[in-house]
Amino acid sequence: MSTALLTDLTIFVLSLWVGFEVISKVPATLHTPLMSAANSIHGIVLAGAMLIAVTADNAVGYVIAFIAAAFAAMNVVGGYAVTGRMLKMFKKRPAAPAPAPPAEAAAANGGTSAGRPA
Protein backbone atom coordinates (compact mmCIF):
# COMPACT_ATOMS: atom_id res chain seq x y z
CA MET A 1 0.00 0.00 0.00
CA SER A 2 1.47 3.31 -1.04
CA THR A 3 1.33 6.49 1.03
CA ALA A 4 -0.52 8.23 -1.79
CA LEU A 5 -3.35 5.70 -1.66
CA LEU A 6 -3.55 6.03 2.11
CA THR A 7 -3.76 9.82 1.82
CA ASP A 8 -6.47 9.52 -0.84
CA LEU A 9 -8.47 7.11 1.32
CA THR A 10 -8.18 9.42 4.33
CA ILE A 11 -9.44 12.36 2.30
CA PHE A 12 -12.29 10.26 0.91
CA VAL A 13 -13.51 9.01 4.28
CA LEU A 14 -13.25 12.39 6.02
CA SER A 15 -15.08 14.07 3.12
CA LEU A 16 -17.88 11.52 3.44
CA TRP A 17 -18.29 12.47 7.10
CA VAL A 18 -18.22 16.18 6.33
CA GLY A 19 -20.88 15.52 3.69
CA PHE A 20 -23.11 13.63 6.12
CA GLU A 21 -22.73 16.40 8.72
CA VAL A 22 -23.42 19.31 6.38
CA ILE A 23 -26.21 17.72 4.36
CA SER A 24 -28.22 16.32 7.26
CA LYS A 25 -28.91 19.95 8.22
CA VAL A 26 -30.57 20.84 4.91
CA PRO A 27 -34.35 21.17 5.34
CA ALA A 28 -36.69 18.97 3.28
CA THR A 29 -37.99 22.13 1.57
CA LEU A 30 -34.66 22.41 -0.25
CA HIS A 31 -34.04 18.76 -1.05
CA THR A 32 -34.59 19.13 -4.81
CA PRO A 33 -32.18 22.08 -5.17
CA LEU A 34 -29.79 20.22 -2.85
CA MET A 35 -29.76 17.18 -5.08
CA SER A 36 -29.35 19.37 -8.14
CA ALA A 37 -26.49 21.26 -6.45
CA ALA A 38 -24.80 18.00 -5.45
CA ASN A 39 -25.24 16.92 -9.05
CA SER A 40 -23.41 20.03 -10.26
CA ILE A 41 -20.61 19.42 -7.77
CA HIS A 42 -19.88 16.01 -9.25
CA GLY A 43 -19.51 17.91 -12.51
CA ILE A 44 -15.94 18.40 -11.17
CA VAL A 45 -15.32 15.30 -13.24
CA LEU A 46 -14.81 17.91 -15.99
CA ALA A 47 -11.38 18.46 -14.42
CA GLY A 48 -10.75 14.75 -14.92
CA ALA A 49 -11.96 14.93 -18.50
CA MET A 50 -9.57 17.83 -19.19
CA LEU A 51 -6.64 15.97 -17.66
CA ILE A 52 -7.17 12.91 -19.83
CA ALA A 53 -6.95 15.15 -22.89
CA VAL A 54 -3.32 15.73 -21.88
CA THR A 55 -2.40 12.11 -22.51
CA ALA A 56 -4.74 11.46 -25.44
CA ASP A 57 -2.70 10.87 -28.58
CA ASN A 58 -4.73 8.49 -30.75
CA ALA A 59 -8.21 8.27 -32.22
CA VAL A 60 -9.70 6.24 -29.37
CA GLY A 61 -8.22 8.63 -26.83
CA TYR A 62 -9.61 11.66 -28.66
CA VAL A 63 -13.09 10.19 -28.93
CA ILE A 64 -13.14 9.32 -25.23
CA ALA A 65 -11.80 12.76 -24.28
CA PHE A 66 -14.42 14.48 -26.43
CA ILE A 67 -17.37 12.53 -25.01
CA ALA A 68 -16.08 12.85 -21.45
CA ALA A 69 -15.60 16.61 -21.83
CA ALA A 70 -19.07 17.04 -23.38
CA PHE A 71 -20.79 14.91 -20.70
CA ALA A 72 -19.00 16.61 -17.83
CA ALA A 73 -19.55 20.13 -19.18
CA MET A 74 -23.25 19.42 -19.68
CA ASN A 75 -23.40 18.13 -16.10
CA VAL A 76 -21.66 21.08 -14.51
CA VAL A 77 -23.05 23.98 -16.55
CA GLY A 78 -26.62 22.67 -16.74
CA GLY A 79 -26.58 21.60 -13.10
CA TYR A 80 -25.56 24.98 -11.73
CA ALA A 81 -27.88 26.88 -14.05
CA VAL A 82 -30.94 24.86 -13.10
CA THR A 83 -30.10 24.97 -9.38
CA GLY A 84 -29.83 28.74 -9.57
CA ARG A 85 -33.12 28.90 -11.45
CA MET A 86 -34.89 26.85 -8.79
CA LEU A 87 -33.45 28.73 -5.82
CA LYS A 88 -34.46 32.03 -7.37
CA MET A 89 -38.10 30.93 -7.01
CA PHE A 90 -37.89 30.45 -3.24
CA LYS A 91 -39.14 33.72 -1.83
CA LYS A 92 -40.26 34.81 1.59
CA ARG A 93 -43.16 36.79 0.06
CA PRO A 94 -44.49 36.71 -3.51
CA ALA A 95 -42.56 39.02 -5.82
CA ALA A 96 -45.65 40.91 -6.95
CA PRO A 97 -47.93 41.40 -3.95
CA ALA A 98 -51.67 41.78 -4.52
CA PRO A 99 -52.27 45.33 -5.77
CA ALA A 100 -54.63 46.55 -3.06
CA PRO A 101 -54.70 45.08 0.43
CA PRO A 102 -58.35 44.13 1.00
CA ALA A 103 -58.64 45.87 4.34
CA GLU A 104 -62.42 45.49 4.52
CA ALA A 105 -62.27 41.78 4.02
CA ALA A 106 -59.79 41.36 6.83
CA ALA A 107 -61.81 43.61 9.10
CA ALA A 108 -65.04 41.79 8.26
CA ASN A 109 -63.36 38.59 9.31
CA GLY A 110 -63.11 39.83 12.88
CA GLY A 111 -59.50 40.93 12.59
CA THR A 112 -58.12 37.40 12.74
CA SER A 113 -55.37 38.52 10.44
CA ALA A 114 -53.86 40.78 13.06
CA GLY A 115 -51.42 38.22 14.36
CA ARG A 116 -50.32 36.90 10.98
CA PRO A 117 -46.64 37.28 10.26
CA ALA A 118 -46.06 39.59 7.35
Binding site: F12, L34, H42, A56, A68, N109
Partner: protein, 467 residues
Protein backbone atom coordinates in the same frame (compact mmCIF):
# COMPACT_ATOMS: atom_id res chain seq x y z
CA UNK B 1 6.84 18.46 -4.91
CA UNK B 2 7.38 21.49 -7.12
CA UNK B 3 6.07 24.94 -6.33
CA UNK B 4 3.57 24.63 -9.16
CA UNK B 5 2.14 21.35 -7.85
CA UNK B 6 1.94 22.82 -4.35
CA UNK B 7 0.00 25.82 -5.56
CA UNK B 8 -2.43 23.81 -7.68
CA UNK B 9 -3.12 21.32 -4.89
CA UNK B 10 -3.79 24.14 -2.43
CA UNK B 11 -6.15 25.79 -4.90
CA UNK B 12 -8.00 22.47 -5.31
CA UNK B 13 -8.45 22.33 -1.53
CA UNK B 14 -9.76 25.90 -1.62
CA UNK B 15 -12.26 24.91 -4.33
CA UNK B 16 -13.36 21.90 -2.27
CA UNK B 17 -13.89 24.23 0.71
CA UNK B 18 -16.19 26.32 -1.47
CA UNK B 19 -18.25 23.18 -2.24
CA UNK B 20 -18.63 22.38 1.47
CA UNK B 21 -19.48 25.98 2.32
CA UNK B 22 -21.96 26.13 -0.55
CA UNK B 23 -23.72 22.98 0.65
CA UNK B 24 -23.69 24.32 4.21
CA UNK B 25 -25.44 27.51 3.08
CA UNK B 26 -28.24 25.41 1.65
CA UNK B 27 -29.52 24.75 5.17
CA UNK B 28 -31.73 27.82 4.85
CA UNK B 29 -33.74 29.09 1.86
CA UNK B 30 -32.56 32.62 2.62
CA UNK B 31 -28.88 31.79 2.08
CA UNK B 32 -29.25 28.90 -0.39
CA UNK B 33 -28.91 31.03 -3.48
CA UNK B 34 -25.65 32.57 -2.28
CA UNK B 35 -24.53 29.05 -1.37
CA UNK B 36 -24.99 27.99 -4.98
CA UNK B 37 -22.92 30.98 -6.11
CA UNK B 38 -20.12 30.05 -3.69
CA UNK B 39 -20.20 26.54 -5.12
CA UNK B 40 -20.03 27.95 -8.68
CA UNK B 41 -17.03 30.07 -7.67
CA UNK B 42 -15.30 26.97 -6.34
CA UNK B 43 -16.02 25.12 -9.58
CA UNK B 44 -14.73 27.96 -11.77
CA UNK B 45 -11.58 28.01 -9.64
CA UNK B 46 -11.10 24.25 -9.92
CA UNK B 47 -11.54 24.31 -13.69
CA UNK B 48 -9.14 27.26 -14.02
CA UNK B 49 -6.52 25.41 -11.97
CA UNK B 50 -6.99 22.32 -14.14
CA UNK B 51 -6.59 24.44 -17.25
CA UNK B 52 -3.34 25.79 -15.80
CA UNK B 53 -2.12 22.23 -15.16
CA UNK B 54 -3.05 21.18 -18.68
CA UNK B 55 -1.20 24.16 -20.20
CA UNK B 56 1.76 23.68 -17.83
CA UNK B 57 2.13 20.07 -18.93
CA UNK B 58 2.74 21.29 -22.46
CA UNK B 59 1.87 17.81 -23.71
CA UNK B 60 -1.51 18.46 -25.28
CA UNK B 61 -1.59 17.99 -29.03
CA UNK B 62 -3.49 20.39 -31.28
CA UNK B 63 -6.14 17.74 -31.79
CA UNK B 64 -6.26 17.23 -28.03
CA UNK B 65 -7.05 20.91 -27.51
CA UNK B 66 -9.64 20.84 -30.27
CA UNK B 67 -11.56 17.85 -28.90
CA UNK B 68 -11.39 19.14 -25.33
CA UNK B 69 -12.70 22.61 -26.19
CA UNK B 70 -15.27 21.36 -28.69
CA UNK B 71 -16.57 18.82 -26.16
CA UNK B 72 -16.79 21.39 -23.39
CA UNK B 73 -18.58 23.88 -25.65
CA UNK B 74 -21.10 21.38 -27.00
CA UNK B 75 -21.79 20.01 -23.51
CA UNK B 76 -22.17 23.46 -21.97
CA UNK B 77 -24.56 24.59 -24.68
CA UNK B 78 -26.77 21.51 -24.34
CA UNK B 79 -26.72 21.73 -20.53
CA UNK B 80 -27.52 25.42 -20.48
CA UNK B 81 -30.36 25.04 -22.97
CA UNK B 82 -31.91 22.19 -20.97
CA UNK B 83 -31.54 24.08 -17.68
CA UNK B 84 -33.18 27.22 -19.07
CA UNK B 85 -36.13 25.53 -20.76
CA UNK B 86 -37.05 22.65 -18.45
CA UNK B 87 -40.48 22.65 -16.83
CA UNK B 88 -40.36 22.37 -13.05
CA UNK B 89 -42.54 19.25 -13.22
CA UNK B 90 -39.86 17.67 -15.44
CA UNK B 91 -37.06 18.41 -12.96
CA UNK B 92 -36.60 14.76 -11.86
CA UNK B 93 -35.90 13.72 -15.47
CA UNK B 94 -33.35 16.49 -15.97
CA UNK B 95 -31.55 15.69 -12.73
CA UNK B 96 -31.45 12.05 -13.85
CA UNK B 97 -29.96 13.00 -17.22
CA UNK B 98 -27.28 15.17 -15.58
CA UNK B 99 -26.63 12.28 -13.24
CA UNK B 100 -26.26 9.90 -16.17
CA UNK B 101 -23.73 12.06 -18.03
CA UNK B 102 -21.77 12.69 -14.81
CA UNK B 103 -21.52 8.97 -14.15
CA UNK B 104 -20.65 8.33 -17.80
CA UNK B 105 -17.89 10.93 -17.76
CA UNK B 106 -16.44 9.44 -14.57
CA UNK B 107 -16.38 5.98 -16.15
CA UNK B 108 -14.74 7.36 -19.31
CA UNK B 109 -11.95 9.00 -17.31
CA UNK B 110 -11.00 5.64 -15.80
CA UNK B 111 -11.43 3.80 -19.11
CA UNK B 112 -9.05 6.20 -20.82
CA UNK B 113 -6.51 5.88 -18.02
CA UNK B 114 -6.67 2.08 -18.18
CA UNK B 115 -6.13 2.02 -21.94
CA UNK B 116 -3.22 4.44 -21.65
CA UNK B 117 -1.51 2.33 -18.98
CA UNK B 118 -1.64 -0.76 -21.20
CA UNK B 119 2.07 -0.67 -21.90
CA UNK B 120 3.32 -0.16 -18.38
CA UNK B 121 2.74 -1.71 -14.99
CA UNK B 122 -0.73 -1.23 -13.50
CA UNK B 123 -0.84 -1.47 -9.72
CA UNK B 124 -3.56 -3.48 -7.97
CA UNK B 125 -4.83 -0.29 -6.32
CA UNK B 126 -5.25 1.41 -9.71
CA UNK B 127 -6.99 -1.63 -11.20
CA UNK B 128 -9.41 -1.88 -8.28
CA UNK B 129 -10.34 1.81 -8.30
CA UNK B 130 -10.61 1.73 -12.11
CA UNK B 131 -12.94 -1.25 -11.89
CA UNK B 132 -15.08 0.37 -9.20
CA UNK B 133 -15.27 3.59 -11.21
CA UNK B 134 -16.19 1.80 -14.46
CA UNK B 135 -18.72 -0.49 -12.75
CA UNK B 136 -20.51 2.20 -10.75
CA UNK B 137 -20.25 4.82 -13.49
CA UNK B 138 -21.68 2.51 -16.18
CA UNK B 139 -24.52 1.25 -13.97
CA UNK B 140 -25.37 4.87 -13.13
CA UNK B 141 -25.24 5.92 -16.76
CA UNK B 142 -27.65 3.32 -18.12
CA UNK B 143 -29.77 3.23 -14.95
CA UNK B 144 -30.26 7.01 -14.92
CA UNK B 145 -31.17 7.07 -18.61
CA UNK B 146 -33.85 4.43 -17.97
CA UNK B 147 -35.07 6.34 -14.89
CA UNK B 148 -35.30 9.56 -16.93
CA UNK B 149 -37.19 7.69 -19.67
CA UNK B 150 -39.66 6.33 -17.14
CA UNK B 151 -40.19 9.76 -15.57
CA UNK B 152 -40.66 11.34 -18.98
CA UNK B 153 -43.13 8.61 -19.93
CA UNK B 154 -41.03 7.43 -22.88
CA UNK B 155 -40.65 4.10 -21.10
CA UNK B 156 -43.62 2.76 -19.17
CA UNK B 157 -43.48 3.76 -15.52
CA UNK B 158 -45.01 0.44 -14.57
CA UNK B 159 -42.54 -2.16 -13.35
CA UNK B 160 -41.19 -4.20 -16.28
CA UNK B 161 -40.35 -7.74 -15.26
CA UNK B 162 -40.02 -11.05 -17.04
CA UNK B 163 -39.59 -14.60 -15.78
CA UNK B 164 -36.01 -15.22 -14.77
CA UNK B 165 -35.20 -11.52 -14.51
CA UNK B 166 -33.48 -12.07 -11.21
CA UNK B 167 -31.32 -14.83 -12.70
CA UNK B 168 -30.26 -12.49 -15.51
CA UNK B 169 -29.36 -9.78 -12.97
CA UNK B 170 -27.35 -12.24 -10.94
CA UNK B 171 -25.62 -13.52 -14.07
CA UNK B 172 -24.64 -9.99 -15.13
CA UNK B 173 -23.25 -9.28 -11.68
CA UNK B 174 -21.27 -12.53 -11.71
CA UNK B 175 -19.86 -11.80 -15.18
CA UNK B 176 -18.85 -8.25 -14.21
CA UNK B 177 -17.28 -9.22 -10.91
CA UNK B 178 -15.66 -12.37 -12.26
CA UNK B 179 -14.07 -10.50 -15.16
CA UNK B 180 -13.02 -7.81 -12.69
CA UNK B 181 -11.32 -10.44 -10.54
CA UNK B 182 -9.44 -11.71 -13.57
CA UNK B 183 -8.35 -8.15 -14.43
CA UNK B 184 -6.82 -7.71 -10.98
CA UNK B 185 -4.67 -10.75 -11.67
CA UNK B 186 -3.63 -9.69 -15.15
CA UNK B 187 -4.16 -6.65 -17.37
CA UNK B 188 -6.90 -7.24 -19.95
CA UNK B 189 -8.48 -4.76 -22.29
CA UNK B 190 -11.17 -7.18 -23.58
CA UNK B 191 -11.94 -7.79 -19.90
CA UNK B 192 -12.61 -4.08 -19.43
CA UNK B 193 -15.00 -4.08 -22.38
CA UNK B 194 -16.90 -7.07 -20.94
CA UNK B 195 -17.15 -5.27 -17.57
CA UNK B 196 -18.51 -2.13 -19.28
CA UNK B 197 -21.15 -4.05 -21.23
CA UNK B 198 -22.22 -6.12 -18.23
CA UNK B 199 -22.46 -3.02 -16.02
CA UNK B 200 -24.50 -1.10 -18.61
CA UNK B 201 -26.90 -4.04 -18.94
CA UNK B 202 -27.10 -4.35 -15.16
CA UNK B 203 -28.09 -0.68 -14.86
CA UNK B 204 -30.98 -1.23 -17.30
CA UNK B 205 -32.04 -4.45 -15.59
CA UNK B 206 -31.89 -2.76 -12.19
CA UNK B 207 -34.18 0.18 -12.97
CA UNK B 208 -36.67 -1.39 -15.42
CA UNK B 209 -38.57 -3.35 -12.73
CA UNK B 210 -38.94 -0.29 -10.49
CA UNK B 211 -42.32 1.46 -10.48
CA UNK B 212 -43.01 5.18 -10.81
CA UNK B 213 -43.84 5.72 -7.15
CA UNK B 214 -40.41 4.48 -6.05
CA UNK B 215 -38.59 6.99 -8.25
CA UNK B 216 -37.58 9.38 -5.42
CA UNK B 217 -35.55 6.55 -3.88
CA UNK B 218 -34.03 5.45 -7.20
CA UNK B 219 -32.96 8.95 -8.21
CA UNK B 220 -31.34 9.51 -4.81
CA UNK B 221 -29.56 6.17 -4.99
CA UNK B 222 -28.24 6.84 -8.51
CA UNK B 223 -27.07 10.26 -7.33
CA UNK B 224 -25.07 8.58 -4.56
CA UNK B 225 -23.62 6.18 -7.16
CA UNK B 226 -22.43 9.01 -9.40
CA UNK B 227 -20.74 10.71 -6.47
CA UNK B 228 -18.92 7.49 -5.62
CA UNK B 229 -17.93 6.96 -9.27
CA UNK B 230 -16.46 10.47 -9.44
CA UNK B 231 -14.53 9.89 -6.21
CA UNK B 232 -13.14 6.64 -7.70
CA UNK B 233 -12.10 8.57 -10.82
CA UNK B 234 -10.25 10.85 -8.42
CA UNK B 235 -8.39 7.83 -7.01
CA UNK B 236 -7.47 6.67 -10.52
CA UNK B 237 -6.02 9.97 -11.69
CA UNK B 238 -4.83 11.00 -8.18
CA UNK B 239 -6.88 14.17 -7.97
CA UNK B 240 -8.10 15.37 -4.55
CA UNK B 241 -10.75 17.70 -5.93
CA UNK B 242 -12.55 14.76 -7.54
CA UNK B 243 -12.23 12.62 -4.40
CA UNK B 244 -13.63 15.30 -2.08
CA UNK B 245 -16.44 16.41 -4.41
CA UNK B 246 -17.38 12.81 -5.17
CA UNK B 247 -17.50 11.91 -1.47
CA UNK B 248 -19.70 14.94 -0.70
CA UNK B 249 -22.18 13.92 -3.39
CA UNK B 250 -22.05 10.30 -2.30
CA UNK B 251 -22.95 11.37 1.23
CA UNK B 252 -25.74 13.61 0.01
CA UNK B 253 -27.25 10.89 -2.18
CA UNK B 254 -26.93 8.39 0.63
CA UNK B 255 -28.78 10.58 3.13
CA UNK B 256 -31.57 11.38 0.67
CA UNK B 257 -31.94 7.70 -0.25
CA UNK B 258 -32.37 6.78 3.41
CA UNK B 259 -34.82 9.64 4.05
CA UNK B 260 -36.95 8.72 1.03
CA UNK B 261 -37.00 5.01 1.82
CA UNK B 262 -37.99 5.74 5.44
CA UNK B 263 -40.74 8.11 4.35
CA UNK B 264 -42.15 5.39 2.10
CA UNK B 265 -41.80 2.74 4.75
CA UNK B 266 -39.70 0.54 2.49
CA UNK B 267 -36.20 -0.80 2.68
CA UNK B 268 -33.82 0.04 -0.15
CA UNK B 269 -33.29 -3.67 -0.81
CA UNK B 270 -37.04 -4.15 -1.00
CA UNK B 271 -37.34 -1.44 -3.68
CA UNK B 272 -34.44 -2.70 -5.80
CA UNK B 273 -35.49 -6.33 -5.60
CA UNK B 274 -39.21 -5.65 -5.32
CA UNK B 275 -40.58 -4.54 -8.65
CA UNK B 276 -43.93 -3.25 -7.56
CA UNK B 277 -45.00 0.27 -6.84
CA UNK B 278 -47.23 1.52 -9.58
CA UNK B 279 -48.27 4.79 -8.02
CA UNK B 280 -49.20 6.36 -11.33
CA UNK B 281 -51.52 3.73 -12.59
CA UNK B 282 -53.69 3.22 -9.52
CA UNK B 283 -56.71 1.43 -10.95
CA UNK B 284 -59.92 3.45 -10.88
CA UNK B 285 -61.96 1.00 -8.90
CA UNK B 286 -64.50 1.83 -6.27
CA UNK B 287 -62.98 1.01 -2.92
CA UNK B 288 -65.00 0.58 0.26
CA UNK B 289 -67.43 3.32 -0.57
CA UNK B 290 -69.35 2.69 2.68
CA UNK B 291 -70.45 5.91 4.26
CA UNK B 292 -68.50 8.44 2.30
CA UNK B 293 -69.86 11.98 2.29
CA UNK B 294 -69.39 14.03 -0.84
CA UNK B 295 -69.49 17.80 -1.07
CA UNK B 296 -70.10 20.43 -3.76
CA UNK B 297 -68.02 23.52 -4.48
CA UNK B 298 -70.38 25.94 -2.69
CA UNK B 299 -70.37 24.08 0.61
CA UNK B 300 -66.64 23.51 0.51
CA UNK B 301 -66.14 27.21 -0.25
CA UNK B 302 -68.18 28.19 2.82
CA UNK B 303 -66.06 25.96 5.05
CA UNK B 304 -62.86 27.42 3.65
CA UNK B 305 -63.92 31.07 3.59
CA UNK B 306 -65.04 31.11 7.22
CA UNK B 307 -62.15 29.08 8.62
CA UNK B 308 -59.44 30.81 10.59
CA UNK B 309 -56.78 28.19 9.90
CA UNK B 310 -56.47 26.06 6.76
CA UNK B 311 -53.75 23.52 5.97
CA UNK B 312 -53.35 22.42 2.35
CA UNK B 313 -51.99 18.89 1.84
CA UNK B 314 -50.70 18.57 -1.74
CA UNK B 315 -49.72 15.22 -3.26
CA UNK B 316 -48.43 14.09 -6.59
CA UNK B 317 -51.97 14.27 -7.99
CA UNK B 318 -51.70 18.05 -7.72
CA UNK B 319 -48.53 18.14 -9.79
CA UNK B 320 -49.91 15.61 -12.28
CA UNK B 321 -52.92 17.88 -12.83
CA UNK B 322 -50.56 20.89 -13.17
CA UNK B 323 -52.74 22.65 -10.58
CA UNK B 324 -50.04 24.29 -8.45
CA UNK B 325 -50.93 27.78 -9.74
CA UNK B 326 -54.64 27.21 -8.99
CA UNK B 327 -53.92 26.11 -5.44
CA UNK B 328 -51.66 29.12 -4.89
CA UNK B 329 -54.44 31.36 -6.21
CA UNK B 330 -56.99 29.87 -3.80
CA UNK B 331 -54.55 30.18 -0.89
CA UNK B 332 -53.87 33.81 -1.72
CA UNK B 333 -57.59 34.58 -1.85
CA UNK B 334 -58.13 32.93 1.54
CA UNK B 335 -55.17 34.77 3.00
CA UNK B 336 -56.55 38.09 1.80
CA UNK B 337 -59.60 37.26 3.93
CA UNK B 338 -57.35 36.76 6.94
CA UNK B 339 -57.31 32.97 6.88
CA UNK B 340 -54.05 31.47 8.11
CA UNK B 341 -52.93 29.18 5.26
CA UNK B 342 -49.99 26.79 5.25
CA UNK B 343 -48.94 23.72 3.26
CA UNK B 344 -48.12 20.33 4.76
CA UNK B 345 -45.47 18.66 2.61
CA UNK B 346 -44.82 14.95 3.05
CA UNK B 347 -41.21 13.98 2.23
CA UNK B 348 -42.28 11.85 -0.75
CA UNK B 349 -44.79 14.28 -2.25
CA UNK B 350 -43.52 14.38 -5.83
CA UNK B 351 -41.15 12.41 -8.03
CA UNK B 352 -37.90 13.35 -6.32
CA UNK B 353 -36.95 14.52 -2.83
CA UNK B 354 -38.46 17.95 -2.13
CA UNK B 355 -40.11 18.16 -5.56
CA UNK B 356 -43.44 19.54 -4.28
CA UNK B 357 -41.70 22.51 -2.64
CA UNK B 358 -40.14 23.54 -5.94
CA UNK B 359 -43.47 23.27 -7.75
CA UNK B 360 -45.18 25.45 -5.14
CA UNK B 361 -42.30 27.93 -5.03
CA UNK B 362 -42.68 28.29 -8.79
CA UNK B 363 -46.35 29.16 -8.23
CA UNK B 364 -45.14 31.99 -5.96
CA UNK B 365 -46.00 30.32 -2.67
CA UNK B 366 -43.75 31.95 -0.05
CA UNK B 367 -41.43 29.33 1.48
CA UNK B 368 -42.30 30.08 5.14
CA UNK B 369 -45.73 28.58 4.34
CA UNK B 370 -44.19 25.29 3.21
CA UNK B 371 -44.06 23.15 6.35
CA UNK B 372 -42.30 19.84 6.84
CA UNK B 373 -44.14 16.88 8.31
CA UNK B 374 -42.69 17.06 11.84
CA UNK B 375 -43.31 20.78 11.98
CA UNK B 376 -46.92 20.77 10.79
CA UNK B 377 -48.30 17.62 12.45
CA UNK B 378 -48.95 19.23 15.87
CA UNK B 379 -50.85 22.03 14.11
CA UNK B 380 -53.59 19.85 12.60
CA UNK B 381 -55.50 19.73 15.92
CA UNK B 382 -55.84 23.53 15.80
CA UNK B 383 -56.88 23.53 12.15
CA UNK B 384 -60.41 24.23 10.96
CA UNK B 385 -60.10 22.76 7.48
CA UNK B 386 -57.47 20.41 6.04
CA UNK B 387 -57.66 20.50 2.24
CA UNK B 388 -56.15 17.31 0.79
CA UNK B 389 -55.36 17.50 -2.93
CA UNK B 390 -54.11 14.42 -4.76
CA UNK B 391 -52.50 12.88 -1.68
CA UNK B 392 -53.63 9.48 -0.50
CA UNK B 393 -51.51 6.97 1.43
CA UNK B 394 -49.58 9.67 3.30
CA UNK B 395 -52.84 10.73 5.00
CA UNK B 396 -54.16 7.26 5.88
CA UNK B 397 -54.57 6.82 9.65
CA UNK B 398 -54.30 3.05 9.12
CA UNK B 399 -50.52 3.57 9.13
CA UNK B 400 -50.66 4.06 12.91
CA UNK B 401 -52.04 0.55 13.44
CA UNK B 402 -50.08 -2.64 13.04
CA UNK B 403 -50.95 -5.16 10.35
CA UNK B 404 -51.72 -2.94 7.33
CA UNK B 405 -49.67 -2.51 4.16
CA UNK B 406 -48.52 0.91 5.31
CA UNK B 407 -48.07 0.23 9.04
CA UNK B 408 -45.28 2.31 10.46
CA UNK B 409 -45.13 4.70 7.51
CA UNK B 410 -44.86 8.30 8.73
CA UNK B 411 -48.08 10.14 7.83
CA UNK B 412 -49.54 13.62 8.07
CA UNK B 413 -52.03 13.81 10.95
CA UNK B 414 -54.78 15.15 8.70
CA UNK B 415 -57.51 13.26 10.59
CA UNK B 416 -56.95 15.47 13.63
CA UNK B 417 -58.22 18.58 11.86
CA UNK B 418 -61.73 19.79 12.76
CA UNK B 419 -62.92 19.08 9.23
CA UNK B 420 -61.32 17.63 6.13
CA UNK B 421 -62.00 18.21 2.43
CA UNK B 422 -60.45 15.71 0.02
CA UNK B 423 -60.20 16.60 -3.67
CA UNK B 424 -59.86 13.39 -5.63
CA UNK B 425 -61.00 12.08 -8.99
CA UNK B 426 -62.43 8.82 -7.65
CA UNK B 427 -62.28 6.45 -4.72
CA UNK B 428 -59.32 4.72 -6.40
CA UNK B 429 -56.57 3.35 -4.23
CA UNK B 430 -53.17 4.92 -3.74
CA UNK B 431 -49.92 3.16 -4.40
CA UNK B 432 -50.23 0.91 -1.34
CA UNK B 433 -53.47 -0.46 -2.77
CA UNK B 434 -55.51 -0.19 0.41
CA UNK B 435 -58.58 1.80 1.50
CA UNK B 436 -57.89 5.19 3.03
CA UNK B 437 -59.74 5.24 6.36
CA UNK B 438 -59.63 9.01 6.30
CA UNK B 439 -62.32 9.07 3.60
CA UNK B 440 -64.82 7.25 5.82
CA UNK B 441 -64.22 9.65 8.74
CA UNK B 442 -67.45 11.57 9.57
CA UNK B 443 -65.41 14.81 9.53
CA UNK B 444 -64.33 14.18 5.94
CA UNK B 445 -66.09 15.46 2.81
CA UNK B 446 -65.05 14.11 -0.57
CA UNK B 447 -64.94 16.48 -3.52
CA UNK B 448 -64.82 14.29 -6.61
CA UNK B 449 -63.17 16.21 -9.43
CA UNK B 450 -59.91 16.79 -11.26
CA UNK B 451 -57.62 18.91 -9.05
CA UNK B 452 -57.28 21.77 -11.51
CA UNK B 453 -61.03 22.10 -12.19
CA UNK B 454 -61.90 21.65 -8.53
CA UNK B 455 -59.54 24.38 -7.39
CA UNK B 456 -60.71 26.81 -10.05
CA UNK B 457 -64.35 26.13 -9.08
CA UNK B 458 -63.57 26.50 -5.38
CA UNK B 459 -61.79 29.79 -5.96
CA UNK B 460 -64.68 31.27 -7.92
CA UNK B 461 -67.17 29.94 -5.33
CA UNK B 462 -65.22 31.67 -2.54
CA UNK B 463 -65.13 34.86 -4.61
CA UNK B 464 -68.92 34.77 -5.17
CA UNK B 465 -69.47 34.08 -1.50
CA UNK B 466 -67.50 37.03 -0.20
CA UNK B 467 -68.43 39.36 -3.07
Amino acid sequence: MSGFTWTTQLLYVLAASCFVLGLHMMNNPATARRGNQVSVAGMVGAIAVTLAIVIHSGAVTATGWAVMLAGALVGSAVGLYAARTVQMTAMPQLVSVFNAVGGGAAALVAIHEYIRLSSGHVSVATTVTTLLDVLIGSVTFSGSIIAAGKLQGVITSAPVTFPGARVVNLLLAVVALGTGGYMIASYSLPGLIIVIIAALAFGVAMVMPIGGADMPVVISLLNAFTGTAVAMAGFVIQNWALIIAGALVGASGGILTKLMADAMNRSIRNIIVGGFGTGDSAPVVAGATGSVKSVAADDAAIQLAYASKVIIVPGYGLAAAQAQHEVAGLAELLESRGVDVSYAIHPVAGRMPGHMNVLLAEANVPYPQLKEMEEINPEFARTDVALVIGANDVTNPAARRAGTAISGMPILDVDQAKSIIVIKRSMGHGYAGIDNELYADPKTSMYFADAKTALADLTSAVKTLVG
